[in-house]
C-alpha cells in the first residue's frame, strides 16, 4: 500500500533530508518520469530500474566516495510539467544530471532547459529520431530510435517471416506514428506492400472494428506499435475474433505484465525490443535476478532503460572524476558501458550504438529470442 507507506516516509524523509543533506553530501541525479497519467505504469517500472541501479552502486561505495541520490519528479509525459520538473531539479535540488523524460514530446521540451543550464540529459526511452537531430550537445539517448529498429528488423521480417502484404497499426502518439512511418519506409524499400495503415487513440478499449478491417485487408502480417495497456487488449481481442494473421509488435510486448494480461492469446506473437528478460548474457542474468528479487516480477524494456541510464551516468561521473557539468558531458561522450542488453557507446549526435536488439516470439508465455542484431553506428 503505497499510500500508507509514502506519507510517514515522505514526512520523515523531508525532515531527514534537511538534516542529512547538511551532514553528508550526496551526488544528486534528477529523474523525470511519468508517475501519474496514462503511461504511469511504464514510467514506474523505469524508476524501479533506476532505483535498483542506484542502490547497487551505493552498495559498492557510491561514486567518487559519495552516495548517489535519485530525486524523482513526475513529468506526466506532459511538456509543461516536465519543464517545471526540470527547473525544480536543476534550480532547487542542484542535480548534476537529468534522466528522462520518457515520452519524446516531454523530452523535447526538457532538452532546451538542459542546454540552457548546461546540465546533461540522458534518456533511455524516447525513440523519436528527431531528438538527436537537434544538435543539442547536452542530450544523450541510450536506446534505439524507431528508424534504427526498423532498419535492423525489416530484413528479418521480409526474409524470414516472409511478410509481403503488411498492415500497419499504431497508437496515435509520437511513438506509434514514428514507428509505423519508419517500418513502412523500410519494408516498402524491400518490396512489401502496405494493405492497411490505421491509428487508434491511446486508451481504446474496443479494437473489434480495427481487427475486422485487418481481417478484411488480406494482410499476411500486421505491424503494431503499442504499449502494454493497448497492445494487450489488441492481442486478446485478435484471438477472440479468431484472426490468424502474424503479429509483430514494438513497445513493451515482452514484459511479464503483458504476458500475464494476454494469457494464451499471446502465443506466437513476435516483438522487437531492445531488451527482453530472456536475453542470455551473463550481465543480464544477474540483473534479472536482482530485479525479480526486489520487485517480484521480471524486468522489461523500461526497467532496463532506467537501470542503464543511471549506470551510464555514474560511470561518466567516475570517468570525469568530478561532477562539473562540462567535464561530465565530455565523459559521457566517451561512454563504454556494458549493460544487460549489450555494450553502449555514443556517437557524435548523442545516439547510442553497439547494443543488442532482439526479435522475440512469445511461446508458452516466455519471450523466446528468435533473432538478435546489434545497433550499428
Amino acid at each position: 500500500m503505497q499510500l500508507l507507506k509514502s506519507l510517514p516516509v515522505g514526512l520523515l524523509g523531508l525532515s531527514l533530508a534537511a538534516t542529512y543533506a547538511s551532514a553528508q553530501e550526496t551526488i544528486k541525479i534528477g529523474v523525470i518520469q511519468p508517475l501519474t497519467g496514462s503511461v504511469a505504469y511504464n514510467g514506474t517500472t523505469d524508476v524501479n530500474g533506476s532505483k535498483l541501479a542506484a542502490d547497487e552502486i551505493n552498495a559498492k561505495g557510491g561514486v567518487l566516495g559519495k552516495k548517489i541520490e535519485l530525486i524523482v519528479e513526475d513529468g506526466q509525459c506532459k511538456p509543461a510539467d516536465t519543464v517545471n520538473a526540470a527547473e525544480k531539479l536543476i534550480q532547487r535540488d542542484k542535480v548534476v544530471a537529468l534522466a528522462g523524460a520518457f515520452c519524446s514530446s516531454a523530452t523535447l521540451a526538457a532538452m532546451p532547459v538542459a542546454q540552457n543550464y548546461k546540465i546533461p540529459l540522458v534518456t533511455g526511452v524516447s525513440s523519436a529520431a528527431s531528438l538527436t537531430e537537434k544538435g543539442n550537445q547536452w542530450f544523450f539517448r541510450a536506446t534505439e530510435t524507431d528508424a534504427l529498429l526498423a532498419k535492423a528488423f525489416a530484413k528479418i521480417l521480409f526474409n524470414e517471416l516472409k511478410l509481403r502484404k503488411v498492415a500497419y497499426i499504431g497508437v496515435n502518439d509520437d511513438f506509434g506514428r514514428g514507428g509505423v512511418a519508419e517500418f513502412e519506409k523500410q519494408m516498402q524499400a524491400l518490396g512489401a506492400t502496405t494493405v492497411m495503415k490505421e491509428y487508434f487513440e491511446h486508451g481504446t478499449s474496443d479494437f473489434y472494428t480495427l481487427l475486422t478491417k485487418l481481417k478484411a485487408s488480406g494482410a499476411d502480417g500486421a505491424f503494431v506499435a503499442a504499449e502494454t495497456q493497448d497492445g494487450s487488449i489488441f492481442v486478446k481481442q485478435k484471438a477472440e475474433l479468431g484472426i490468424q494473421t502474424k503479429v509483430f509488435g514494438v513497445g513493451s510486448w515482452a514484459t511479464s505484465d503483458f504476458i500475464k494480461l494476454t494469457g494464451a492469446s499471446s502465443e506466437g506473437i513476435y516483438a522487437a525490443v531492445p531488451y527482453a528478460s530472456t536475453m542470455t548474457s551473463p550481465r543480464n542474468t544477474v540483473f534479472v535476478d536482482a530485479y525479480t528479487q526486489r520487485y517480484k516480477e521480471a524486468p522489461g524494456k523500461y526497467s532496463a532503460a532506467g537501470y542503464n541510464v543511471i549506470n551510464i551516468l555514474a560511470q561518466a561521473i567516475d570517468r570525469a572524476n568530478s561532477t562539473d557539468p562540462e567535464k561530465l558531458r565530455e565523459a559521457l561522450t566517451k561512454t563504454s558501458y556494458d549493460g544487460p542488453n549489450g555494450h553502449f557507446q555514443f556517437d557524435s549526435t548523442g545516439q547510442a550504438y553497439g547494443f543488442t536488439l532482439v526479435l522475440v516470439q512469445l511461446t508458452s508465455g516466455v519471450p523466446k529470442v528468435v533473432a538478435s542484431t546489434t545497433v550499428e553506428r
Binding site: 500500500m1 503505497q2 499510500l3 509514502s6 501519474t36 497519467g37 496514462s38 504511469a40 505504469y41 514510467g43 514506474t44 496515435n172 490505421e198 491509428y199 487508434f200 487513440e201 486508451g203 478499449s205 474496443d206 473489434y208 472494428t209 480495427l210 475486422t212 478491417k213 478484411a216 502494454t228 495497456q229 494487450s232 487488449i233 486478446k236 484471438a239 477472440e240 475474433l241 479468431g242 505484465d257 494480461l261 492469446s265
Partner: protein, 290 residues
C-alpha cells in the same frame, strides 16, 4: 456484406455496453438535475472492486457483481447525503464543480492504492471465437450483452413500477409536493444517486471482464457517457439506450469504412450537430425553470 455484418454486430455490442455505461448518468440527471462528472471514476472503482474480488480473492463472478452493486450503491448514497446535499439548492454549477473535485480525488487515490498496472476482472465466460455465419463473436460478449440488457430492464422496472421509483419521479417533478405527500426527499435523492453509482460500477465490472481495468480511463468513460446522454436526451431512459446504440454503430461503421483515427471525434461531432438541431436530444423533454 460479411464485413458490413461484422461491423454492425460490433457496433451493436459496443452500443449496448455504451448504453449501460450511460444509463446511470442520465438517470441521475433526469431525476436530480445533477451532472455527475465523477461518473467515469465510479465506473473505474466498480471495475477495480470487481478485479479485487474475482482475481485477488477468487470469488464467483455473479457474487462479486452483487457486491460491487451494493458497495457502490452505498458509496453513492453517502456521496449524496454527505456532499451533494450541501449544495443542492444552489443550481447546477456547484454540483458540477463538486463532482469534478470528487472525480480528481477518487481517480488519484485509487491510483495510489492500486497502482498503475492494468488488470482484468476474471469471468467464467469463454473468450474463444464463435462463428455465426460471417460474424465472429465470443461467448463472453454475448453473455455480457445479455447481462447489460437484464440490468437495463431491471432498472426500468425499478423506476417505473416500484413504489421507490414512483417516489423518485415524484420528487423530481416537484420536491415540495413530494415532501407534502410524505416522501422523505433527502433519502430519495440519496437512493437515486446510489442507483446511478451502482449502475456505473456494474458497467465497470462487467466491461472490465472483456476489456481492461485501469484507473486512468475514468475521464474517457465520462466523456463518452456525456455524448450518449446528450444524443439521447438528458434524463431519458430510452434516450440512453438509443443514443448508446447509435453511437456504437456509427463508430463501428465509420471506423470500418473510413478511418479509425478520428473515431472518437464522431461522438463529439454528433453532439454538436444534435445541440444545434435538437438541443434536448432525441427523446429529451424541454423543461425550463425561470
Amino acid at each position: 456484406m460479411g464485413l458490413f455484418l461484422q461491423l454492425l454486430a460490433n457496433g451493436i455490442v459496443l452500443g449496448t455496453f455504451y448504453a449501460l455505461s450511460a444509463l446511470g448518468l442520465t438517470l441521475v440527471f433526469g431525476l436530480m438535475r445533477v451532472v455527475n462528472f465523477a461518473h467515469g471514476e465510479l465506473y473505474v472503482v466498480g471495475g477495480l472492486i470487481g478485479w479485487a474480488l474475482t482475481a485477488v480473492l477468487g470469488l464467483n463472478f455473479f457474487l462479486a457483481l452483487a457486491i460491487v452493486v451494493i458497495v457502490l450503491g452505498i458509496a453513492g448514497y453517502l456521496i449524496d447525503r454527505l456532499l451533494i446535499a450541501w449544495v443542492r439548492g444552489e443550481g447546477e454549477e456547484p454540483t458540477i464543480l463538486l463532482t469534478i473535485g470528487l472525480s480528481i480525488f477518487i481517480a488519484n487515490t485509487a491510483l495510489l492504492i492500486v497502482g498503475t498496472t492494468p488488470q482484468t476482472v476474471l469471468s467464467p465466460f469463454l473468450s474463444k471465437p464463435l462463428f455465426l455465419g460471417p460474424v465472429v463473436i465470443t461467448q463472453s460478449r454475448l453473455v455480457l450483452v445479455g447481462l447489460c440488457v437484464a440490468l437495463i430492464v431491471g432498472t426500468y422496472f425499478l423506476v417505473q413500477k416500484t413504489t421507490l421509483g414512483r417516489a423518485m419521479r415524484a420528487t423530481f417533478q416537484d420536491p415540495m409536493a413530494a415532501q407534502l405527500a410524505g416522501i422523505r426527499t433527502a433519502h430519495i435523492y440519496g437512493f437515486t444517486f446510489a442507483l446511478g453509482a451502482a449502475l456505473a460500477g456494474a458497467a465497470g465490472m462487467l466491461l472490465g471482464s472483456i476489456y481492461v481495468v485501469q484507473v486512468t480511463i475514468g475521464g474517457v468513460i465520462s466523456l463518452k457517457a456525456f455524448v450518449i446522454v446528450i444524443l439521447g436526451g438528458m434524463g431519458s431512459f430510452a434516450g440512453a439506450i438509443v443514443g448508446g446504440l447509435i453511437l456504437g454503430v456509427v463508430e463501428a461503421l465509420w471506423g470500418g469504412y473510413v478511418a479509425t483515427g478520428y473515431v472518437d471525434a464522431i461522438g463529439f461531432a454528433l453532439v454538436i450537430v444534435m445541440l444545434l438541431v435538437r438541443p434536448y436530444g432525441l427523446f429529451g423533454k424541454r423543461v425550463e425553470r425561470a
